[in-house]
């Protein structure tokens, strides 16, 4: 590495010193882990000293929800692996290898053999070390150090040899605080997104009539008529099960093949959609048309998508295509009905257990729907569409913030 790389491209004002390379072993008081108490799971208690295991460690976050507890005596036997405030904890085996977090609690805890304690010397910040471990470079080191095949994990020697560049303690702290703020912001956005989804669920509960009711609890002003109960078969003009093909996919082929995957989150996405060829007749029989209503019939049962424009696509055998009588029901309204409890309570009765859960068109047609006037349906459809769009935008914003963190991790470290 050349000398002009010894400082990151973005750093806080007032810091100009070059960063220095240090091995973890040289700047830590301790690198080590604990063990599984004799007797394993059966010795875990409901209260006691928390025993942190790899499943409790997430990206710089400790999750105590399914924490195991050990007795004081066991903790005493394992006093070498007691965790102190500001220790960095790193998963060193298994699928979650490389995940790390700073222990921020005042109370003591212990760790098992899958979690390594990294306890920095004075003048080295735990947050800074954790950030380095979670950076692309740090993860790369974890990956490279895994001896043979990835299953064996990291040993303490390898960990102590991991080297990163360090500025002085003040700059470390400042960088640590900045990322803490960034993480906090991301968590808030996640919370906001969850609440928005919860809000939609709440509206779904209140804007469709409950079982045995004919009007919903909340509805748009100006509508007072009772909703009418219809069988889904009464509002269906046409339905057809999708096209079964064993043909190989190729990007140069003519038609998109729509599968359950394309319908994830109830909207059509053509990002990784495979393409196939088909005879003209098959295409004519199985092409999707504007205003088709596709539902997944196996696996992710309960998912659907409305076709809004003509696309050169064939719907596959895991889908059923419905065309509804649009003078009685709008596709959007049917979709939100399909998401509502009113439908879900019926769905449970009609799914068929096999190696995968299944529904068929006849099952769906046997369900009951409550219908208001087309005008009211349109209003309801638009309203939920707006909620969905808002949720999607927030989702997008959250992803952008996560990207931003990644970019800063690249640019603010050496």
């Amino acid at each position: 590495m050349t000398s002009n790389h010894l400082a990151p491209v973005i750093r806080f004002k007032g810091f100009t010193d070059a960063w220095e390379q240090r091995k973890l072993g040289d700047i830590t008081k301790k690198i080590g882990s604990g063990k599984t108490p004799k007797g394993g799971n059966s010795t875990y208690l409901d209260v006691g000293i928390p025993l942190i295991r790899s499943q409790n460690i997430f990206g710089n976050r400790l999750d105590f929800t399914d924490i195991a507890y050990i007795s004081k005596d066991t903790d005493n036997e394992m006093k070498n692996s007691r965790v102190n405030e500001n220790d960095v904890l790193l998963n060193i085996t298994g699928a979650s290898i490389g995940r790390s977090a700073v222990y921020r609690e005042k109370f003591t805890a212990n760790v098992n053999q899958h979690v390594c304690i990294i306890r920095p010397e004075k003048h080295y910040s735990s947050n800074f070390i954790q950030l380095n471990l979670s950076s692309y470079k740090g993860q790369k080191e974890v990956e490279l150090n895994q001896a043979g095949g990835g299953r064996e994990g990291l040993n303490f020697k390898q960990i102590s040899k991991m080297s990163f560049y360090y500025p002085n303690y003040n700059e470390q702290t400042k960088i640590g605080n900045f990322f803490k703020q960034l993480d906090g912001t991301i968590a808030l956005h996640q919370r906001e997104l969850d609440l928005l989804k919860e809000q939609k669920k709440g509206f779904l509960q209140k804007m469709f009539p409950k079982k045995d009711e004919v009007v919903p609890e909340i509805r748009f002003a100006g509508f007072t008529d009772a909703w009418e109960q219809r069988k889904v078969s009464d509002i269906t003009l046409f339905h057809k099960q999708g096209y079964y093909t064993k043909e190989e996919y190729s990007d140069t082929k003519k038609y998109y093949l729509l599968r359950g995957t394309e319908l994830t989150s109830n909207s059509l996405r053509l990002d990784d959609t495979p393409k196939i060829n088909a005879t003209e007749k098959d295409y004519e029989d199985f092409r999707v048309k504007k205003n088709d209503f596709l539902i997944v019939r196996s696996g992710t049962v309960g998912t659907y998508s409305i076709i809004y424009e003509d696309i050169p696509a064939i719907f596959g055998s895991y889908l059923i295509n419905f065309r509804f009588n649009l003078s009685i029901v709008t596709n959007e309204f049917f979709g939100y009905f399909y998401q509502s409890e009113l439908f879900k309570s019926q769905l449970l009765k009609i799914v068929q257990q096999s190696s995968n859960i299944n529904i068929n068109a006849e099952n769906i047609k046997s369900t009951l729907i409550m219908l208001p006037s087309i005008e009211e349906q349109t209003k309801i459809g638009n309203f939920f569409k707006q909620l969905d769009d808002t949720i999607a935008l927030h989702q997008c914003e959250l992803e952008k913030l996560q990207e931003m963190k990644k970019a800063f991790l690249q640019k603010m470290f050496v």
């Binding site: 400082a7 990151p8 491209v9 973005i10 750093r11 806080f12 004002k13 605080n177 900045f178 703020q181 960034l182 906090g184 912001t185 808030l188 956005h189 919370r191 906001e192 609440l195 928005l196 919860e198 809000q199 669920k201 709440g202 509206f203 509960q205 209140k206 409890e341 879900k344 309570s345 449970l348 009765k349 009609i350 799914v351 068929q352 257990q353 096999s354 190696s355 914003e397 952008k400 931003m404 970019a407 800063f408 640019k411």
Partner: protein, 537 residues
């Protein structure tokens, strides 16, 4: 047998399995191991009995062997002893062929595989009961070793390991240990060895259902037309108060599995007169065709959705004729069911495990189901949890059938959520079994668990028996307070605005050392301020 003892017994069995495990699949080595355990059982039992007959009760196999050898030296005594033993067990091994003496030879380096093979032959030829019992045990198989020396060594090691077992004195325990091993093989090798094994929990449930009210009946007869290792049949022994009088009828397609069932019967102490096992294809010619042909109980766990010929000729077969159609070629489920039902007494009870598809599939299966329902044949449908069998993860159902019912209602029990998660399988707990059984016996509705459906309801549902149609397990969503969500959203949005402001101050404090980095930094700043503005509104 105490828990401690059984643990050692299981442990020793499992250790011997270890010796073979490196050499072949569980599906194959089970034949060797179970065969050798069985041979040791026959040998030990005989030695102790011989000592008793000679009125010199032995405290160890060594003693018994010595007494037996001694007696053989006296010609007259020997002949009496042999005829007495043959009367008791129908076989008598020469002293040199007992398991005990073979192990001695192993220790002295004089063991020949041929001796063991001779022992097998002697047993097999001694009675109809034992014919071909050891035919799956190829002592000269290349899998045991590439040279005769290596083959000899492998078998010797297993025999030495088994030698520590005192199995003659634990009749029942050994039978259970045998079952344990079969179960272990099943879970060990998944599909291959698991096809002949029904998990104990399911066996227990089915057995108690068919036996209920008849626990004291003498001469109870039970038939399993797809018996596998016979564990379902033998379970009846555990719950009957007259276990010695039970008559077992079983049929099995695979010869090696059929032999396993025969050994299992003997190990469980079932009298020769009470075993009626048959090695043949249930879906071919009918069996049994000679009296008795109908039984107090039919228990079955047939292979799921097996292929069969569905030959048109079967439409004239009295087993299938009443239904006018045959089970589809690719799904023999109903063929097995109808075969079993055909052999049920008017007062009998049948329990069969099948995949859920039989409850709702249409076409021929729909027609058969309809006729069965119209006859009131289907008494109860029990939905079991998914992934409780060794060879398949699909959810299964136990269907209880009866003849001559006064009613045509069907009782549904949805036990699909009654399980504990195990390592690879879900486990049906004793509590869950009890609960199912009590519910079955009470035949009363239990909210979200059990429902009695009238024939009219069944008709309304087009004779579709899919359990969720009758047992409503829908849990209503927690009501969400929009007011609460709104308050929280407001708070979060306020926090976001503040967080963005703090972040913005951090960003103001950052400097870029290259032009590229500066551009990016500026872009980030604008994102955050924009984001902040949005949330301030």
């Amino acid at each position: 047998m105490s828990k401690q003892e059984s643990k050692t017994l299981y442990q020793a069995l499992w250790n011997s399995a270890d010796i073979l495990r490196s050499k072949m699949d569980a599906a194959d080595y089970k034949d060797y191991l179970l065969g050798l355990v069985f041979y040791k059982y026959l040998s030990d039992r005989m030695l102790y009995s011989a000592a008793d007959l000679l009125e010199q009760p032995a405290h160890s196999l060594k003693e018994a062997q010595a007494i037996y050898e001694e007696a053989f030296k006296d010609g007259e005594l020997r002949d009496d002893l042999i005829s007495e033993l043959k009367y008791m067990y129908s076989y008598a091994l020469e002293p040199g062929l007992t398991f005990t003496s073979l192990v001695d030879k192993i220790h002295m380096g004089q063991f020949q595989l041929e001796d063991l093979a001779q022992g097998f032959r002697n047993i097999e030829q001694s009675s109809e009961l034992f014919v071909n019992l050891f035919e799956d045990i190829d002592l000269y198989s290349k899998r045991l070793g590439t040279t005769p020396q290596k083959q000899n060594k492998t078998i010797s090691e297993v025999m030495v390991e088994l030698d520590s077992l005192d199995i003659a004195h634990e009749g029942d325990a050994l039978g259970d240990a045998y079952e344990y091993l079969i179960g272990q093989f099943a879970s060990d090798s998944g599909k291959k060895a698991g096809e002949f094994y029904t998990p104990q929990a399911v066996s227990t449930l089915m057995t108690q259902i068919v036996l209920s009210g008849k626990e004291d009946k003498r001469g109870f007869s039970v038939y399993d037309a797809a018996m596998g290792s016979g564990s379902l049949l033998l379970n009846v022994q555990k719950f009957s108060n007259e276990p010695g009088t039970i008559n077992y009828f079983g049929q099995e397609l695979k010869t090696s599995t059929y032999n396993l069932a025969r050994m299992n019967m003997i190990l469980h102490g079932v009298d020769v007169a009470n075993q009626h096992l048959h090695n043949s294809d249930t879906l071919d010619a009918d069996w049994p065709t000679e009296e008795p042909t109908n039984f107090d109980a039919v228990l079955m766990n047939p292979p799921y959705s097996a292929k069969w010929t569905a030959d048109k000729g079967f439409l004239d077969d009295p087993r299938f004729a009443p239904y006018g159609v045959l089970a589809p070629k690719s799904k023999a489920d109903f063929a097995f069911l109808l075969h079993g039902y055909y052999h049920l007494k008017d007062t009998g009870v049948m329990a069969i495990v099948l995949p859920h598809g039989v409850l709702f599939r249409g076409a021929a299966e729909g027609k058969i189901r309809k006729i069965l329902l119209e006859h009131g044949a289907i008494d109860t449908v029990i939905g079991l949890p998914a992934n409780i069998f060794f060879n398949t993860s699909i959810p299964t159902t136990v269907i209880v059938l009866k003849k001559n019912r006064k009613n045509r209602d069907v009782f549904f029990i949805d036990a699909s959520k009654d399980f504990e998660k195990g390592k690879n399988q879900n486990v049906l707990t004793n509590d869950a079994i009890d609960n199912i059984l009590q519910t079955y016996l009470a035949r009363e509705n239990v909210d979200k668990y059990a429902q009695l459906a009238t024939f009219d309801e069944i008709t309304e549902n087009d004779f579709n028996l899919n359990i969720p149609r009758y047992v409503d397990t829908f849990e209503e969503e927690e009501p969400i307070s929009l007011k609460h969500v709104a308050t929280e959203l407001t708070a979060v949005q306020k926090d976001i605005a503040e967080a963005h402001q703090v972040l913005a101050t951090f960003l103001d404090d950052l400097v870029a050392t290259t032009d590229d980095a500066k551009d990016e930094l500026d872009a980030f700043k604008s994102i955050l301020t924009r984001g902040g503005d949005n949330h301030d509104k």
